[in-house]
Structures are given as structure tokens and as C-alpha cells.
Symmetry: C2
């Protein structure tokens, strides 16, 4: 006998079997958006933004604090004022610069199967970098430690949806500031075989350390590293219209070493850029173009790419807002500008929420959907970012992994083959019947649909009797299970020795000579 | 002196002013998606789905339980088997049916400023209908009551983002089943001046009651109501391939009265439809087309529209899943089919989550983004749906309002006028300066950016010291404030009297004669 017909309005609770306890993930794989990019501005509007940013560069210019950077820019043909340190750029220099930038690049991972393409319709998901604080449900919000760094990198290694370890998650505030970049890089190189983003590039010596350690990890020369980049990273401009020495040093060192570097203006509309989306995008674009000129001046043809970060502040309080409608629109338009320039683009998965709650989820979605639709090539902060980037959250990392897994699954093509059209199954089930037992269903039992990492689809009674855990509480259990099951990827012991020796030597030098 | 430059990596917490306590909402207004619809299937693939569903209708057919419905179908030219009650449809009948359906329709609200267009690039957001349970943080999950119905309708009236009161929110289980539709309709008509969706159309007499009460509310005749529809609603097919008497009665009565009705198959892939997305969409499409034939047979030219509900079950447990990657894809493809047929389309904002948590938010986003991108014309369950439709949640209503407000704001065009490009502001702020005090910012202080209903952007310390409330806890406070500020829209006392008299008479009849 077939069951009583159910409808949307008469369906009642039913018993569901207990959920399988195993964590299921899709394999590590490239994510591509096969659909045309979603665009919200006309070609004329994009041209207006472009031309306005050229006017900014020509008429106002950018202040460049560092002498070496100004020298590079002067040699490239920019108009440098020795007294004010203002640098102005004419249209020809911008066009010449843009023509030299590669439209895509490859980042070679320690494990060649995890080597990445950045450009075109490919998307790379990289985890958070930069927060001084870390949080989890057990210990709350606190200063980051090196133990947190190691645990975070282990989790990123274990979560297949993340292509790139984006920056060791959190600052280890228990380590000395002058040398902690060495320890962070060691954790990144040894605890995962994915590509990594070095942190603390905002000094010339630190940048060099990251380059030297990458050469050891990849066992290659400086020239080979430049030909086969082993990491990508980014610098911020000090918006509005300022580039300080730390940032220009990072950009120049990356360019000299041929490592891909994004230039990301810190344009929070209403504070560091005009209180209008168009104005903030003009300023962002001008600052990106200025950064491009500096990188190409340091090494022509070096891979640099467009950095999007434009969001806005709450005009009533000055608080930064992320994952907002304006943020979404600025992603779409920035990606259009990057496509016009034929350069890859980086953006971020953001939220201003102080808790891993519904707000954190919907602001992350308001970041990730635009990134996916706009063909953002490198999504930094894609996992673990909380509280406007001040906090690295272990539960948020799991939440973000689920969101990105779902979006990646959504991009997988639908199979329209005859067997998938299912007419035989419909004939077998019959009117008012059910499909649980049909041959068609049995053939697809394991793989038909997306399997979640975090979502709980059990009925209310089962969910309640199992502890009424919300998604954040379940995320806490997921990362602990992942961490418990962590397996370190193999590394040649000789390389490990060489890395340790380099770190020991540099720590001695830093202790002796200072930073 | 300008502040020290901040960057993405060095930004530290700062003091934000206390947030203004007033609830801010955008006004009631039509929402349109000005961008081309997002499509994931090729024209050939859509054609393959269409042709496969014609084969289902011709070769397998649909079982129709009710004699009146079979008579209508027979007269329309369908092949009706008297013994098996199977009805088969040839291609010509389908084409003839499709050509008779209007491509858009208008739903007249009691307040003419809230009259709605359904079709084209217009989107109507309607709140949840059907759940037997209600929940809020104070009293938890419990049986719905008439008090809950009234409170829910009041909140929907007060939330401008919802265009349409979708069905009184929850079943009032404290009222007799035979007459509660009268009380629900009374609440809908009197507590809001937005258009409403009547509930319990699954019997001929109840459907007639809703029509009669609409005539009183709008003070019009049966003919005038058909010319100027006052509500829209929907029926489910009893998937697979079955249409029972309750559902066909509802559809026929709506058609006879000329009120728009969607036909929504209950196709949960792997249970009520094949365990493949393509197969479930073929079956959905076949059942929609069969419903269209019945409606057009009852009254040629009556507005019927495409109902999308296809999702999947968790194959391990049989639990329904919503807001999944498959759900998103089925929205995109269903919208393509509806556009091919030039009929409006309805879908839903769904989640399987048992709590108003991060999962509820990301599954809602995985429903709302596809609905917006696909040009879904009528988003039912857009506010308040929880736990696969079993629960009407007051906190989820607020969460959904925020999500939809953000998406609507995202669809607003960006202003690229000269003043918005902000060059004067950049010159005024200067390198390393700030924009808080510029003339450009002061001119835009109030309206520059989206103002949230629910999001909390305050810094951690302020948020913590104010109670560390997560988004769900804040939603609880938002709906209470809205309810406390509710103002009933005016209604002619004579109409109110007439409604009350109708209800009293019908309750007497029901008590005397039964349902």
C-alpha cells in the first residue's frame, strides 16, 4: 500500500534514522564558475570609473613614504615631488603597466596535486590571515598563540574545500614580534602540503625570510622560484592615497622575487574613502593602479593582481560593516574592472559579527555569493574570519567550509542524460508511489546529492534528544574531530633540518641585530 | 594631525558610539531584478526537460482522484481512463493550454498602494504558511494558536519588505479545524492592508468561503473579483503523478473565480520523485503542466503559474533537505522552464534547521539568492519558515526580513554621477586623511548605505557589555518592539460588520451541517 499523499501544507513530522557519524567531504579540487560573470555596471559606467581613477592619479596623486619606492616610480616615468613625496601618474604609464601584467598565474604547492591556477574562471579559497585574537566555544575570545596557529593550519590542511593556507590564521602573540613570522612560516610549510600565504611581509627583511624559506621548502633557486612561484600574498595601501614604507617594501620584495602579490586598498567608504560606492571604487582603483606601477617598475612582468576590499562604515557609529549590500556591489564592479584590465582579482569572505551566529552566516553568504558570481579568483579570508577580521574563529572556519562546499557543489553541472531524466523510475514508482526502493534510486544512493559537513537535517525530536545543538555548537565538534584525525603530510627530513637551521640562524641574528 | 595609517592586517579595535535605538526600515516598495536572469541550463537542456515531461504526460499520465476534475479534463481533450483514473495528455493539449495562460497578473490589495504585480522581473515576498507549530525564544516550539496567527499577521503588516501576507503564518490548533479558515482570513483581512494568501483551500466549501470573504473585503461582485484578483494562492500535486480531490477542488475553485493559483508539485528527489535532479524536474514539470490543463479547462485564461518546490531528501535518513545546492539548481532551471512557457513562477525561502541559527541563515541564503538571481516572481515562505516548514518562527521572520532587505538593497542601482565619483572629497581628505568630516560625507550622512534591521556592527567590548546577544536573541527583541508599535490599518466598520456576520453565519452552518 502506498503511503498517504503528503503535500506542502499537510506534511507532518516523521521518523528519520540516526545520521551516519562519519565526516564526509568532497575531494580537494579546483573550483571553476562555468557561467558568465554576473555584472551590474555597464561598460560605460566601468569606463567612467576607470577614467575618474586616472584623473585621481594624474591630478591628486598618491603619497609614497619610502625613498626606494619613489626611486622605482621615478625611473618608471612617474612624476615624483621630492618635498611632498606625492607621486603623479599619467595615462600612458598606467596603460603601459597594465599591458605588462600576466592575466593568470600558477602557485606551486609543496604537493604538486595542490598547485593552483589564479585567473580566468578559476576560484581559489584561502583561509583567514591577520587577526590578533582567536576564539572557540570552549575558551572564548583570547589572544592568539602559536598553538592556535598550529591547530588552525592543521584544520586547513584537513578541509579539502580550502585550496590555500591563507596566513596561519592568527597572530601568535606569545611569540616575539620580531621573529614570529619564521615560526608561522614553519608551521605553514610543515603542517600542510597546500600552498601558503606568508604573513608579515611589511618589512624588507621579513619578506626576504619568507622567500628564503620558500626556496628551502621547494628546494629551488631564486630564479626557479621566480619562474615557478610558490606562494601569493598581498599588501594594503594606506587609504586614502598613501603607501607607507612597510607596504611598499613588501610589494617590491615580492615583485623582485617574482611572487604574485595583490594590491588591496583599505577603502572603507565614509572613513578611508568617500561616502559613496562609486567614489570608493574610484579611489580603490587608483590605488590599485599605483601599486601595479610600482610592482612593474621593480620587475616588469611580475604577477600582480587586483585587490578588492571596499566596504563601508556605519555612518552613525563609524563601525566597519562587512557582507553588506554595498560590499556585494563593490565585488561585482571591482571584478568588472579587473576583467577590463585582464588581471586576476582577490576579494574576501567577511562579516562584522562578534559571534558565530546567524549574522555571521548571512554576512558570509553576502560575501561568498558575490565572489562566486563575479569570478573572484582568489578569495582570501574565505575561512575563519570573524568580527571584521579581528578574530580567527575555529567554529567560523567550519561554517565557512560548509558555505563554500555548497557553492562549489552548486557550480557542478547538472546531468541531463536519458537515465537521469528518470522516466523508468517514474513508471516503476507509479502515481502516489515512492522512490526509495526503485532501481534508479538504489543506483544513486551514495552520490546523488550533496552531503553536508555541518547541517543537521534530523527531525526535531531526534535533534532535541541529542542535545539541541545549534550549528555553532556542532561546528565546535566538527573541528575537534578533524583535529583529532589530523595526519601530517610527509616532508623530506633534510628539508625540515634545513628549515630549522635557517630559523635558528635568523633568530640569532634578530636577537643580535634587532629587527 | 591625521590618524596613523591602518591596514587590513594592523587594524585594531576602536571605540564605536552606541547604536541608535530606532528601528529603521526601507519603505514598502516593489522589488525588481534589473539584471538578466541567471541561467545554468542550455536551451537544448531545457528543451530536453520539456520533451521528457511531455513523454511522462503522454505515456504514464497523472492519476486524478476526483470525478469533477476528470470531467473537466475529459472535456478539455485529455485521455481519461474511467477505471484507473489515469489521465493522459497529448502535446497539442499542452501547447494549447500554455498559450492561454497570462504571462503576468495583478493582485489587488485592500490598500491600493500595496497592490502587486506578479511576472516579468518583479519579485513578491510572501510570508510562511502551513506550519502546525510556532516558536519563539521565550516559549519555545509549541502548537500554533489564534493569538500567534494575529501576532504574526501584525508583524507581517509592520515589516515593509514583505509584500504579501502568505498564509497567516501558523495553523491555529486551538480553533476547530472545520471553521478556522474563517478566523484566519478575518485576521488577514483586518490586521493588515497588504494582499493575503487564503489558507485551507483544500476543500470546495473552504475555497468558496475565502472567495466570499474577499468579495466582502474588496466590496466587489464575483465578476469584478475575477477581473481584479484580490489574492493569489497555490495547490500542491500529490507527487508522484497524483492529484487528489482536495487539491483539484482548490485549483478548480480558484480558476472558476479567476484568482491566480500556482501549481506546485511536492517533488522531494529520492522520495516523491527520482533520485536525480533532472528526473525530479521532469516530473515537477509534468505535474505543473497537468495542473495548468485542469485550471484552463475550468476557466480559459485564468491566471495560473509555475510552482517550484523541488528539493531532495538525505538519502541516508530520508529526511527532507532544503536550501541545498540541488535546491538552488532546481530554482534556476525551474525559472528557465517558466520563462520558456511565459508564465510567472513561485518558489520558497527554505531551511531544514531546527533552530534559528547559522544553518537557518545559510540555508535561507541558499534559497533567497537563487530566487533573486532566477527572477522568481512570487517567493512564498519568504519569512518565518523553519524546520522544513513544520514551524513558524518569529525570530526567523526577522532574520528573513534582514536577508531580503539586503538583497533588495543590492538590486538598487549604483549612482555613477560626477558628484558620487567623489574626486573633490579625495582632494579634501588628502593622502592619509579621513572622510568623516568632508562636505561629501556630511551630505550623505543619513542615506549613503544600507541600515540593518538585525545586524550588530558594534565592537566586541560594547557588544559584550550590552549582553553578548547573538542575532537570534536580537531578533527576539526586534519582533517584540515591532509588535509593541503595531498600528491597525483602517477598515470601514460596515465591512467589518459584514465580515463578522458572514463568519457567524458560516460557523452556524458548519456546526449544523458539518464541514
Amino acid at each position: 500500500m502506498s503511503p498517504a499523499p503528503m503535500t506542502e501544507r499537510t506534511r507532518r513530522p516523521h521518523t528519520r534514522r540516526a545520521r551516519d557519524a562519519a565526516l564526509t567531504q568532497p575531494p580537494f579540487r579546483a573550483v571553476r564558475n562555468p557561467h558568465p560573470p554576473f555584472e551590474i555596471a555597464s561598460a560605460d559606467e566601468i569606463d567612467a570609473l576607470h577614467r575618474a581613477s586616472l584623473r585621481v592619479l594624474k591630478d591628486i596623486g598618491m603619497k609614497v613614504s619610502d625613498g626606494r619606492a619613489r626611486d622605482f616610480l621615478k625611473r618608471a616615468g612617474a612624476d615624483v615631488n621630492r618635498d611632498t613625496h606625492m607621486v603623479r601618474f599619467d595615462d600612458g604609464l598606467i596603460e603601459e603597466t597594465l599591458s605588462a601584467i600576466p592575466s593568470a598565474f600558477t602557485v606551486h604547492a609543496r604537493n604538486p596535486q595542490k598547485t593552483l591556477t589564479v585567473g580566468g574562471d578559476a576560484m581559489v579559497f584561502a583561509t583567514v590571515c591577520g587577526p590578533p585574537f582567536v576564539s572557540d566555544l570552549d575558551r572564548g575570545r583570547r589572544d592568539g598563540t602559536y598553538e592556535d596557529v598550529c591547530n588552525f593550519v592543521k584544520l586547513v590542511h584537513g578541509l579539502n574545500i580550502f585550496h590555500h593556507e591563507g596566513g596561519a590564521g592568527v597572530e601568535p602573540l606569545d611569540l616575539p614580534v620580531a621573529s614570529r613570522h619564521l615560526d608561522m612560516m614553519y608551521a605553514q610549510i610543515t603542517l600542510t602540503d597546500k600552498a601558503w600565504e606568508p604573513t608579515w611581509l611589511n618589512s624588507r627583511k621579513r619578506a626576504r625570510d619568507c622567500i628564503e624559506m620558500a626556496k628551502i621548502a621547494m628546494q629551488c633557486s631564486e630564479e626557479e622560484l621566480a619562474e615557478r612561484p610558490a606562494f601569493c600574498t598581498g599588501i594594503n595601501t594606506n587609504s586614502p592615497l598613501l603607501l607607507d614604507g612597510a607596504m611598499s617594501d613588501g610589494l617590491i620584495e615580492m615583485a623582485l622575487a617574482g611572487q604574485p602579490c595583490n594590491v588591496t586598498p583599505f577603502t572603507l567608504a565614509g572613513a578611508m574613502s568617500p561616502a559613496s560606492l562609486a567614489g570608493s571604487l574610484v579611489q580603490q582603483n587608483a590605488e590599485v593602479l599605483a601599486g601595479f606601477v610600482l610592482a612593474q617598475a621593480a620587475r616588469k612582468g611580475t604577477p600582480v593582481y587586483y585587490g578588492h576590499f571596499t566596504s563601508n562604515v556605519d555612518m552613525r557609529t563609524g563601525a566597519p560593516a562587512f557582507g553588506t549590500p554595498e560590499y556585494a556591489k563593490s565585488i561585482f564592479i571591482s571584478a568588472q574592472l579587473a576583467r577590463r584590465y585582464e588581471v586576476p582579482i582577490r576579494s574576501s569572505n567577511t562579516t562584522a559579527s562578534a559571534a558565530v551566529d546567524a549574522q555571521a552566516a548571512y554576512e558570509a553568504e553576502m560575501s561568498c555569493w558575490p565572489c562566486v558570481l563575479a569570478h573572484i579568483n582568489h578569495m582570501l579570508h574565505a575561512g575563519g574570519w570573524l568580527e571584521g577580521g579581528l578574530v580567527c574563529s575555529f567554529e567560523k572556519l567550519i561554517l565557512d567550509a560548509e558555505i563554500l562546499q555548497m557553492l562549489a557543489a552548486m557550480l557542478e553541472p547538472v546531468d541531463f542524460s536519458e537515465d537521469e531524466l528518470g522516466l523508468a523510475a517514474m513508471a516503476e514508482a507509479g502515481p502516489g508511489g515512492h522512490f526509495f526502493g526503485t532501481q534508479h534510486t538504489l543506483q544513486r544512493y551514495e552520490t546523488a546529492f550533496y552531503t553536508p559537513l555541518l547541517s543537521d537535517w534530523r527531525n526535531f525530536e531526534t535533534w532535541r534528544d541529542d542535545g539541541s545543538r545549534n550549528a555553532t555548537e556542532r561546528a565546535n565538534r566538527v573541528w575537534k574531530r578533524l583535529l583529532a584525525g589530523y595526519e601530517q603530510p610527509p616532508l623530506d627530513p633534510a628539508i625540515d633540518e634545513e628549515l630549522k637551521a635557517y630559523i635558528a640562524r635568523r633568530k640569532e641574528e634578530i636577537a643580535r641585530d634587532g629587527e
